[in-house]
Amino acid sequence: MKTLKDMLAEARQVVPEQGPADLKRRLDAGEPVVVVDVRDPDEYRDGHIEDAANISRGFLEFRIGTVAPEPSTPLVLYCQTGLRSMLAGKALKDLGYQNVINLQGGFQKWAQSGLPVAKDKPLNTEQIQRYSRHFLLSQVGEKGQRKLLRSKVLLIGAGGLGSPTALYLAAAGVGTIGLMDGDVVDVSNLQRQILHNTPNVGRPKAESGAEMLRALNPDVNVIPLATRIDVDNVMDVLKDYDLVVDGSDNFDTRYLLNDACYLAGKPNIHGSIFQFEGMASVFAPNHGPCYRCLYPTPPPPGLVPS
């Protein structure tokens, strides 16, 4: 009779292994790898690798087709320590899947390496009502809403561009919004900076903005940063966020933010306007151009107002 040891040894012959750092690198590079968590649903709920599909070991052969329609789909399987998933990997190779890798050390090693872990807190009744329009969209659903609630976005500038951005991100349920602006609300701002209001004229924009956002959606953790971004604080501020929205109003800040976001590996959502024209792009480190690729030099002083 075969022992468990025999079965694992047989599986190891055909299923290669990869460590958590390698998998993280592949995911960060945007590789189209499908990660499958073969543990039971309660283990998955307590903590899993973000975007991993949960197909427990018992249902593997029946449901793998829903996440991996092609035999060539690159798959990485994991369980708690790497043993269940090793046997699962062998089962998938037997089924005909060509590209199956086991995560060495499993979720335990991933978490111990300090890599990010996703936990699903069920939505409460108020949240289900508040975000009901998101649940109607198949591309969002409850899973997407939880993803939004886990997201952290930093807004540089709570002015003309930062205002609508902040309002819509908060309304959508982005869980953490950093609002960085060193200015105070001026009455001339209110013609377009709809995050603020008349009673708040004279208050720091970061505080005025935070108050509005919290009233709009109490789910959001708004972090007001009533200070200008500069070379001394930028890297420290950026590190806690997933992405950055550049709604600043001068070239020095735009170039500083561009460089800092690239060096920190954070996507930079760029927006800028002048009179009746606007433009938007996304500068994603190593996926596309940066601001300097587009504008190697700023305009001469005085030609374009800040």
């Binding site: 003309g160 500083l256 306007i273 009746f276 606007g278 433009m279 151009p289 587009l294 030099t297």
Partner: protein
Amino acid sequence: MLLGIGETLVGRLLTYDALGMRFREVRLRRDPKCPLCGEHPTIRDLSIHREGAAEACAAEPAGGGNGQPAAAGAPAAKAGG
């Protein structure tokens, strides 16, 4: 970007002309000569931003000058936000 659905504006510049009520799209490419993200980067930290604004913005000018974009067809730089 947060949900990982749809197509993002990576590699594209979306421009809007409010008077003409027109949207336009310009394809953007990484510049191999970019001092930050190109093949031979000269900017590896933020020290350039301490030396003075003029130097910081205009690191190793390549392609266009005077705020004109390196990407053909792209509009002039705007600072407003």
